[in-house]
Structures are given as structure tokens and as C-alpha cells.
């Protein structure tokens, strides 16, 4: 039996894998594990078996919240998916004008915190709402407000997934169907729809999970209507009952895990729709399809713009809706919240650190997993750990962070209440999406780059720096901006973790809204939107510059 001598390259990769493994154990597995344990303990830390769960199912208000979460999420999904499908269909399968504008507007809600649409709806239909008479005596504070705001908030995610699903169509299938004289409806039902099936399942799952796990919207516009996410907050912050909080957190984890598994299953079922010889489908102009598609996209885009515009406008109004004079007073945040503009700078700092540290960490670990040992005792669990954050709602992660890091016996507790724990939490929360982007980029590189370098006696880190990194730069930048925007807009992941000196802007929005200062909350939400928008624009400019710079060697 031969014991191959480990190369320096392999030692490097193994070490990185080990460090990554340790990192995810400490920052993900152990916190989640302590959350799980906590659900089976009482306030004093003694094991009580399923007693907490028994209390949960026998408390009508708590079970009621679970039901509320379920039906609002289902209803939102039922509205968003057809709407997003039609929008994506218009973008990919019609010849309507102005597609790029529609694409840009579609992304707008991602850049704002989920609180923003809720605030806009309050401006329009709330107690002092301009269009309150439209509610016909009903109240926006409750399920209808939640659903309305969620539709706005979830639309981009669904539209992105569906336009990707619809953009990869094999033109030959359509030519064949037309040659066989199939009607348009039949072509749609037998070619288009099956081709987009995986996208539909995936988009539905994502929307459903987003609604169930979102905290900002029900907090701002939910009124007395309780859902799972607000329950966790109430148990932990209101009643200081971490045990019941952990139980509700686990319940919240349930739909997210189910959705995750369903998506995995659908992914496995998906057959390759695009073979190597496929011809990309190119729509031909047809008025009967293009005009309705254009009108629909125009309508949806206008609605998205109006929602954002209402908050922006509202943030500049002196006293909504009685004195509509414009003012900058609402942006003088120190008047409403002691942190003032500090909250914004803290958010920018937090997001920058999350983006820089996170992107580096995620990319290097992904690289070590792709090019290092595949079946080792570290690589296999590490690969599994990288997929978990996607299924863990921000609130649950935040809660598990308090339980783990705030434990008196934990030496890592020193980071509690500092910026470091916010950064760590944000990196973990958005880890999987970044990891998948990195893996996709690395897999596009020739597998033999490392072998060639080894034969040329060039160490792996040198090839990583000279070849892998430059080629993957766009993907790394994409991860960077994604982490920045996500950390900028998230509420749920950090609501349990900020300290007196580390309050992010998104939390300030919640606090100002709680204090009844809707205009200041809207102003802060608009600042967040502006920062995210700037980051996104930088990404676009950088992408263009890179494309020009790299045009010589890219095909």
C-alpha cells in the first residue's frame, strides 16, 4: 500500500477546509445546536423534555400565529407567482420595448428594507392615509397590509428566478411544435410551462419562505395580527423568555426547512432542458402578445415605482397628510432617535465589513472545497454546512446567536454587543447564496489548472492569485455587492444582536416607527435604499469596466 506524500498545495487546501469547517461549526452549528437544546430546557437550564412544546400547542394565541403565517404566505405566493410569471414572460418571450428599464425597476424592492413598502402602505391606507376611504372601513393594519407589502417585497425574487427559467428555452422545440401545427395555447401548455416548471416550484418556495420568515413587514403593519416572526420577537424581547422563543424559532425553522427540501427535490427532478446543441429561442415581434405584455409590465413597474415613490415623497413631507409642505426635517434623525445619523454610518460600516470579510471567506472556502480533497472527513460535513444558512431564517439565526454567544460560560461572549457579532451574523445569514455564486464561477474554470501549475512547480496560491482570482473577479464582486445590500437592508438577522452603540439603520427604522414617527422611519428607509442603490450602480459600472478590460481574453 502506498502512502502518497502530501503536496504543499494539498496541505494548503486541507488547512483552509479545516479552518472553514471550524468557522462554520463555531458560527453556525454550535449556535443552532444551543437553540435546539434551549427549546428543551426551562428558565433555569434544567431539561424538561417536550414541556415547552406542550405549552406551545396549548396556547391558542401562539398556534393562531402559526396559522396566520401560513395563510398570509400562501395567499401572497398565489398572487406573486402569476404576476411575476407574466412579468418575466414579457421580459423574455416578447418583443416589447424598454425591457432593460423593466428589468431595472424589477430589482428596486431588493434594494430597500422590507419595511419600506409597509411604510408606503401606511402612508396611503393607514390611519392618516390619503386613500383611506378606499379601505371601506377595513384596516390596513393586519393581514391585508402584510400581504400587500409582501407582494412588493417578494416580487423581485420570484421575477428573477422565473425570468432565468424562461430565458433558457430551446428554440428548436418551438419550431417543431409550430411545424406540427400546434396552437399557441397548446405550445404554451406543452412546451413553455413544462420548461419553466422547476422555476415555478423554486420561485413559489422562495416567496413562501420569504413571507413566513420576514419580520419587518408584520412588525410595522401587522397591528394586532400576530405571525410567527413577531411571536419570536415578543417572546424574546417582550417576555425575556428565551426558551419559548427557541420553541417558536424551531417552529419557524420548520416551513423554511420543508421549503428547502422541496426545492432540493425539484432541483433533482429537473432534467437538462438545454442540451449542448440547443438553439436559444428568440421571440419574433407579434402585436397580439407584445402589446398586452407591455401594458402588464408597465402596470406592475408603475406599481413598484409608486410604492417606493410614496415613501420617498412622504419622507420629505412636514406633516402627513395635513401639511404637505416639503421639508428636510425628517432627515434630521437625531431629533427622533439618539443614534441619529450614526445608525446610517454604522450600517455602512457593518455592510462593508460583511461584504469584504464575507466575500473573501466565502470565496476561499468555496475554492478549497472545489479543488481540495472531495471525500475527506472535513470536506463532506463542510459542504453540508455551507448549504444550511439558506434554510435558517434571520430571526432564528439571531436568536441562536444570543443563546450561544451570550452564554456566561462561552469565552467567545466578548463579541456580544459589538459590531463583530453583527458582521459574523450577517456573513453566516447570507453565506449560502454567496457560496453558490462562488462555486458556479470556480466550476467554469478548467479542472486541470492546478495540475498544470504543479507540473510547472508553481505553488497553488500563486496560480490562485494570478489566474483563479482575476477570472472570478466578476463573481466575487457580485458576492460583495450582494452581501453589502443584504446586510444594509436586513432587519431580522440583527434585531436581537445590536448593542447600545451598534444600532444599524434598519433597526432605527423599526424603532422610529414604533415611536410613531412614520416620516422619520420612511426617511431612514429611503437613506438605506439610496446607499444600496449606489452600491448596485457601482457594481454595474465595475462590471462594464471589467468587461472592457477583460474583453481581450474573454470569449
Amino acid at each position: 500500500m502506498i502512502r502518497p506524500k502530501a503536496s504543499a498545495d494539498e496541505t494548503w487546501l486541507r488547512t483552509i477546509q479545516a479552518v472553514g469547517f471550524l468557522f462554520l461549526i463555531l458560527a453556525l452549528a454550535l449556535p443552532l445546536g444551543s437553540l435546539l437544546l434551549r427549546a428543551f430546557e426551562d428558565q433555569h437550564g434544567s431539561f424538561v423534555g417536550l414541556r415547552n412544546f406542550a405549552t406551545y400547542v396549548t396556547t391558542p394565541s401562539l398556534v393562531g400565529s402559526a396559522w396566520n403565517s401560513l395563510w398570509t404566505a400562501l395567499l401572497t405566493t398565489c398572487v406573486v407567482i402569476p404576476l411575476a410569471f407574466a412579468y418575466a414572460y414579457g421580459l423574455t418571450r416578447s418583443c416589447m420595448p424598454g425591457k432593460w428599464i423593466f428589468r431595472a425597476i424589477m430589482l428596486l424592492p431588493i434594494l430597500a428594507p422590507s419595511l419600506l413598502p409597509a411604510l408606503s402602505l401606511i402612508y396611503l391606507f393607514g390611519n392618516q392615509g390619503m386613500l383611506r376611504w378606499l379601505m371601506a372601513g377595513g384596516s390596513i393594519y393586519g393581514p391585508w397590509g402584510i400581504i400587500g407589502a409582501q407582494i412588493f417585497y417578494c416580487f423581485p425574487a420570484a421575477a428573477i428566478i422565473l425570468s432565468v427559467a424562461l430565458s433558457t428555452a430551446d428554440g428548436r422545440l418551438y419550431e417543431a411544435a409550430e411545424a406540427l401545427k400546434a396552437s399557441r395555447l397548446r405550445i404554451f401548455l406543452t412546451v413553455t410551462l413544462p420548461g419553466a416548471m422547476y422555476g415555478l416550484v423554486s420561485a413559489s418556495v422562495v416567496v413562501f419562505t420569504l413571507v413566513v420568515t420576514d419580520f419587518g413587514i408584520p412588525k410595522v403593519i401587522g397591528g394586532q395580527f400576530n405571525v410567527l416572526a413577531t411571536d419570536v420577537y415578543k417572546q424574546v424581547v417582550g417576555r425575556q423568555d428565551l426558551n419559548m422563543g427557541a420553541v417558536v424559532g424551531l417552529v419557524l425553522l420548520l416551513p423554511a426547512i420543508l421549503a428547502f427540501l422541496l426545492d432540493r427535490w425539484a432541483h433533482g427532478k429537473r432534467t437538462a432542458t438545454m442540451s449542448g446543441r440547443a438553439v436559444v429561442y428568440r421571440p419574433k415581434p407579434r402585436r397580439g402578445r407584445d402589446l398586452p405584455a407591455f401594458l402588464l409590465c408597465l402596470g406592475v413597474a408603475m406599481a413598484l415605482l409608486v410604492i417606493v415613490a410614496v415613501s420617498v415623497w412622504g419622507s420629505f413631507i412636514r406633516f402627513w397628510p395635513y401639511n404637505l409642505a416639503l421639508t428636510l426635517d425628517n432627515y434630521d434623525f437625531a431629533r427622533f432617535d439618539t443614534a441619529g445619523w450614526q445608525a446610517v454610518w454604522l450600517s455602512v460600516k457593518l455592510s462593508l465589513m460583511t461584504a469584504l470579510v464575507g466575500a473573501a471567506l466565502i470565496f476561499i472556502i468555496a475554492y478549497s472545497l472545489e479543488r481540495g480533497p472531495q471525500r475527506s472527513l472535513v470536506a463532506v460535513p463542510l459542504r453540508f454546512l455551507t448549504t444550511i444558512p439558506l434554510a435558517v431564517p434571520g430571526l432564528v439565526l439571531g436568536l441562536s446567536f444570543i443563546i450561544f454567544f451570550n452564554h456566561p460560560a462561552n469565552p467567545l461572549g466578548i463579541i456580544y454587543g459589538t459590531l463583530a457579532i453583527l458582521v459574523l451574523n450577517s456573513i453566516i445569514h447570507f453565506y449560502t447564496v454567496g457560496h453558490l455564486t462562488a462555486v458556479t464561477a470556480i466550476r467554469q474554470l478548467d479542472r486541470e489548472f492546478e495540475a498544470v501549475s504543479a507540473s510547472l512547480h508553481v505553488p497553488i496560491w500563486q496560480t490562485f492569485g494570478r489566474v483563479t482570482l482575476p477570472i472570478c473577479l466578476p463573481a466575487i464582486f457580485q458576492i460583495l455587492i450582494f452581501l453589502f445590500v443584504s446586510a444594509m437592508t436586513t432587519v431580522s438577522a440583527v434585531i436581537f444582536l445590536y448593542g447600545p452603540d451598534t444600532k444599524p439603520a434598519s433597526i432605527a427604522v423599526v424603532h422610529m416607527d414604533e415611536a410613531g414617527q412614520v416620516s422619520a422611519a420612511a426617511a431612514m428607509a429611503c437613506v438605506i435604499l439610496a446607499v444600496s442603490l449606489t452600491a448596485k450602480l457601482i457594481e454595474i459600472v465595475a462590471g462594464t469596466v471589467f468587461a472592457r478590460f477583460a474583453s481581450a481574453w474573454r470569449r
Binding site: 501549475s453 504543479a454 507540473s455 508553481v458 489566474v467 481581450a552 474573454r554
Partner: protein, 375 residues
């Protein structure tokens, strides 16, 4: 396995590294993935300056063996000695070889010159020396005017040359080529294989090429290692593996041939397919009644219109004709035995062969390839 024997091997190879001595010794090298045996203990020597091809169908173990030599996938058993040094367990970076992959694995963001000079770094390669060497290599592979281009701007054949130049840059003792030509189209392939061979002979670098293309292997190699199912079937010069195949597999894999099962017949040196009895020199030492696998190549079939060649002739029906330029290939059938015959165009005209016509056929007795059946 005896340690003394192993040590003897190493010492032998170490002391005589002149031309014609084994430069690379592969002894009982095997590779197992779980229960799957990718490579059964194979042994062979590669002489210094020799061009050896590993030839076989996909999954035969040829790439596994190459990767074991390169240290990319170390073998599970056996020993590999290169230039007297036991390299079996060494990682690729501590070995001395250059490699060209099927995909070339050129660094897309580096120019042609940067790719070629990629391994020329450190104290041994000061800038001027490196530039000189790169220029020399560019000249060697005929790309002196393409230095500043990127791989994506080159044709497949040019990319292949860059990969070759990069592999040869630091003057490795051993050049490994993993299906280097299979990504290219047929005409470029034909041209490039001759170029690789010429370059290899000029530099005298010991070379191992993995290929599934027998024509490629036959045309450039000093010796060919024919492999199948993780085993070496035959090691020999192109001429040897073509005309004296060591097994039924080699006979069927190399060159074109018709294959049929027959029995050894009387008198000695005859075989019979159904009631067709024909002389076959190779059957002389076999026992009467033994089942044999028989191969006959198209160029070893003789056709006439008249039955004047004695008992060895039999009548066959023409089932198809194919004009290939220098020869015409005629497909025939006799008693369910299908075979082909190559004849020059002039003979073809004389034979007046057309589908359905009858021709007298004869298999050259000294060219019938015969192997005992295994079952």
C-alpha cells in the same frame, strides 16, 4: 513483495541513464477505487528518448496510468522509478515532467508568452533568461508572431502548441500528453501529430502519450502499449501490434478486420468455419476441434473471378462496394461469414464487382490471426 527486488530495480536504473536505458520503470502499478480496479498491476519500461503511446478504449486504464506517472492520482500499489529516483509517492510538484491535457488548460487571462513562461520563475530564471527561453520556445512551435495574443484569440491547433511549449519550457525529463489531439478537427490533427513527433525527436525528450486513436498511436510512436480493462494487452512497435497482435483484443482493436469463430480442422494447419475449410499457418500447433477466434484484415483477402487457386478458394457474394481512393473496399458474405477485401481500383474494374455478384475469395493463410477462444 520482496524489498530486495525493489531496491535492485532502483539501483539498476540509477546508474545507467544513457540513451536506450530504461528512463522510467513502472513495476506492478495498480489502482483501486473501492471495489473497482481501474488498473491491475501493470509493468513496463520506457527507454530514454522514447515515444510511447498508451492506447485503448475509454475506461481501459490508460489515463489512470498516466496520472499515476504524473502523481496526480497516485497508484495504490507498485513502484514508479524515474531516472533512478523512486517517485511513486511524490506529489506532482516534486517530480520532473511537463504535461499537456486534452483541454490544454491554458490560462485564459494570460498572454501566450505569459502562459509559456508561467513555470519559469525563481532564482534559476532571471528575467532576461526567461524572456530568451520563451522566445526560443515560441520559435520552436512556430508562434513567434502571436506572443501578445490571449488563448481565446488562437485556433485550436495554435492553443495546442502553446500548451506544448509551456510543458517543455523548463526542459522536463518526461513529457506527458493526455489525448493531446482529440479536441482538434481531423486535418489539423494529422498535421500536428507529425509536428509533435518531429519536435520530440529533435529534443529527444522521453514522451508518453495517451490516446484512443489507433492511427495516431501507430503513426508517431516508437512503441505502443495496448491496454484493455486495466491490463496491458501488448507492448510493441507499431508494426508488431499491427501484424502480430498478442491477443484477440489487440487484433480486433488495432486496424480493421473481420472477426469470426472457427474450429481447428484436419489436416494440421487448417481451420473450418461451418463447411468452409481453409489453411491457416497459425493453427498448426493447435489441437483438432479447438475453438478459435479468427481475424482477417481487408488487405489480406484475395479475390478472383475464376476458381483456379485450388481448395483454399471459396465463393462469396458481394454485398457492397466502397471507393476509398487508393483502394476499393468490397464487402462480401459467404455462408453467413461477413468480411471485407481491399483491392486496387484497376483490379476492382477487372473483377466487375457489384452487389449480388459472386467472387472467388481466399484468405492469405500466413495472415490469418488466430487466438484460442476463452470459453
Amino acid at each position: 513483495m520482496g524489498a530486495a527486488l525493489d531496491d535492485g530495480l532502483g539501483a539498476d536504473a540509477g546508474q545507467n541513464a544513457g540513451i536506450g536505458d530504461p528512463f522510467l520503470i513502472i513495476r506492478d502499478v495498480g489502482k483501486q477505487f473501492g471495489n473497482f480496479v481501474a488498473l491491475e498491476r501493470v509493468s513496463l519500461n520506457v527507454l530514454s528518448g522514447e515515444f510511447v503511446s498508451f492506447l485503448g478504449p475509454s475506461g481501459c486504464g490508460k489515463t489512470t496510468l498516466l496520472r499515476a506517472v504524473a502523481g496526480l492520482d497516485p497508484p495504490t500499489v507498485g513502484r514508479i522509478i524515474q531516472a533512478g529516483r523512486d517517485i511513486t509517492a511524490l506529489p506532482p510538484a516534486e517530480r520532473d515532467f511537463g504535461i499537456v491535457f486534452q483541454s490544454y488548460a491554458l490560462f485564459p487571462n494570460l498572454s501566450v508568452a505569459e502562459n509559456i513562461g508561467y513555470g519559469l520563475r525563481g532564482a534559476a530564471w532571471p528575467k532576461t533568461r526567461r524572456q530568451q527561453r520563451v522566445a526560443e520556445l515560441l520559435h520552436l512551435v512556430g508562434l513567434a508572431d502571436q506572443t501578445v495574443k490571449y488563448p481565446a484569440q488562437l485556433s485550436g491547433g495554435q492553443q495546442q502548441r502553446v500548451a506544448l511549449a509551456r510543458a517543455l519550457a523548463a526542459e522536463p525529463g518526461l513529457l506527458l500528453l493526455d489525448e493531446p489531439l482529440s479536441a482538434l478537427d481531423a486535418i489539423v490533427r494529422l498535421h500536428l501529430r507529425q509536428e509533435i513527433r518531429a519536435l520530440q525527436q529533435r529534443l529527444g525528450v522521453t514522451t508518453i502519450m495517451v490516446t484512443h486513436d489507433q492511427e495516431e498511436a501507430l503513426s508517431v510512436s516508437d512503441r505502443i502499449v495496448v491496454m484493455s480493462q486495466g491490463r496491458i494487452e501488448q507492448i510493441g512497435t507499431p508494426e508488431e501490434v499491427y501484424s502480430q497482435p498478442a491477443s484477440a483484443f489487440v487484433a480486433g482493436f488495432i486496424g480493421r478486420s473481420a472477426h469470426f469463430t472457427a474450429k481447428v480442422h484436419t489436416p494440421s494447419g487448417h481451420i473450418a468455419f461451418k463447411d468452409l475449410v481453409m489453411p491457416a499457418s497459425a493453427a498448426g500447433h493447435l489441437l483438432y476441434g479447438e475453438a478459435v477466434e479468427v481475424f482477417i484484415r481487408p488487405e489480406d483477402v484475395e479475390l478472383t473471378t475464376t476458381a483456379d487457386q485450388g481448395a483454399a478458394c471459396f465463393s462469396a457474394t458481394v454485398t457492397g462496394c466502397e471507393f476509398l481512393g487508393p483502394v476499393c473496399r468490397i464487402a462480401l458474405e459467404a455462408r453467413g461469414l461477413r468480411f471485407e477485401a481491399d483491392v486496387p481500383p484497376a483490379t476492382f474494374a477487372e473483377l466487375k464487382a457489384h452487389p449480388g455478384s459472386e467472387l472467388m475469395s481466399r484468405f492469405r493463410p500466413d495472415r490469418l490471426l488466430i487466438f484460442p477462444s476463452h470459453d
